[in-house]
């Protein structure tokens, strides 16, 4: 055992511990804001794991997209829907948790069994630091069509998110044709689909 492999094992142990603990925190912590920050920690640790696999480009993309964009978006969503509400108790919650825990445990055992019984064989020598060059070659040769489709998908998602999340601004009321006070859009609107049975 050389010093390099020992260092790698220590790094892997630290990163995987952070990932597992952070993921459990994301799922179990009662405060959603803490969960969102722990999620950032999970994303950063996963980026560290990518660095251990010699994938510097994907690690950078992970940090930029997940920590920089997705996590900030989640934090914004938490701030925008930040309402303290006491969740009404529902019957059979403990039973549901137990059953879903059993299902997840079974899935975990299945995955572990697959991981340890499959003869994976060994692949060719990894390219190491040239990974970024290879990814660029892939994206502009045999993966060109998915690459362009991804840009179209992002554009669709952007427009869709804007359409879904904006407040409707009409200069005149659709029903009566009267002018609508533009200040109205900043005031609280009566929710349309309130669940009357709960109140």
């Amino acid at each position: 055992m050389t010093i390099a492999s020992t260092t790698q094992q220590i790094c892997f142990a630290v990163l995987s511990t952070t990932v597992v603990a952070g993921a459990l925190g994301v799922v179990l912590l009662p405060n959603v804001v803490y969960a969102a920050f722990l999620l950032a920690g999970v994303f950063l640790s996963v980026a560290g794991l990518y660095l251990m696999l010699n994938a510097s480009f994907v690690a950078a993309a992970q940090i930029l997209v997940y920590v920089g964009a997705v996590n900030v978006l989640i934090l914004f969503a938490i701030m925008l829907v930040n309402k303290r509400e006491d969740l009404a108790a529902i019957p059979g919650l403990g039973l549901r948790r137990l059953l879903s825990g059993l299902v997840c445990g079974g899935l975990f055992v299945l995955l572990i069994r697959v991981a340890f019984t499959t003869p994976w064989g060994s692949g060719p020598e990894p390219v190491g630091e040239e990974a970024t060059i290879r990814i660029g070659e892939h994206l502009f040769s045999d993966y060109l069509l998915p690459f362009e489709l991804a840009s179209v998908l992002l554009l669709m998602a952007m427009i869709g998110a804007i359409v879904l999340a904006r407040r409707d601004v009409f200069s005149e009321d659709i029903g009566t044709g009267e002018e609508v006070d533009q200040g109205l859009i900043e005031k609280a609107r009566t929710p349309l689909l309130l669940d009357r049975s709960v109140r």
């Binding site: 094992q9 597992v20 696999l53 994938a55 997840c104 064989g121 990894p126 669940d195």
Partner: protein
């Protein structure tokens, strides 16, 4: 059969880590009452899949690294999914005045 390459970490270690992360995500997806937490659980599951892809790419497909290209596409789709999902969540919150998953039941039998 030497799966550990020059490093001291076998491929199975990454697979086990990804399995733990994925199962945590599934459990959170089923049991979360807060809609934002459901989206976070989905992100956890996508990250678990990405870890698998990257490990396979490095250990079994070292020359072509197609797994890394797939991981980039997964990251792209995850970003799009998060944007649309959170927009839907905002729209839901405006209309129902809650983020409790148990009360989003208009389409439920």
């Amino acid at each position: 059969m030497d799966l550990s390459l020059s490093s001291g970490i076998p491929l199975q270690a990454f697979l086990v880590l990804a399995a733990v992360l994925f199962c945590t995500g599934v459990w959170g997806l089923i049991n979360s009452r807060n809609a934002v937490r459901v989206l976070m659980s989905i992100e956890l599951m996508l990250n678990a899949v990405n870890i698998n892809l990257m490990a396979f790419s490095s250990y079994l497909d070292g020359q072509l690294i197609r797994g890394q290209v797939f991981a980039i596409f997964v990251i792209t789709v995850a970003a799009a999914e998060a944007a649309v999902g959170l927009a839907i969540l905002l729209s839901l919150y405006r209309n129902r005045d809650t983020v409790d998953m148990e009360r989003f039941n208009l389409l439920r039998w």
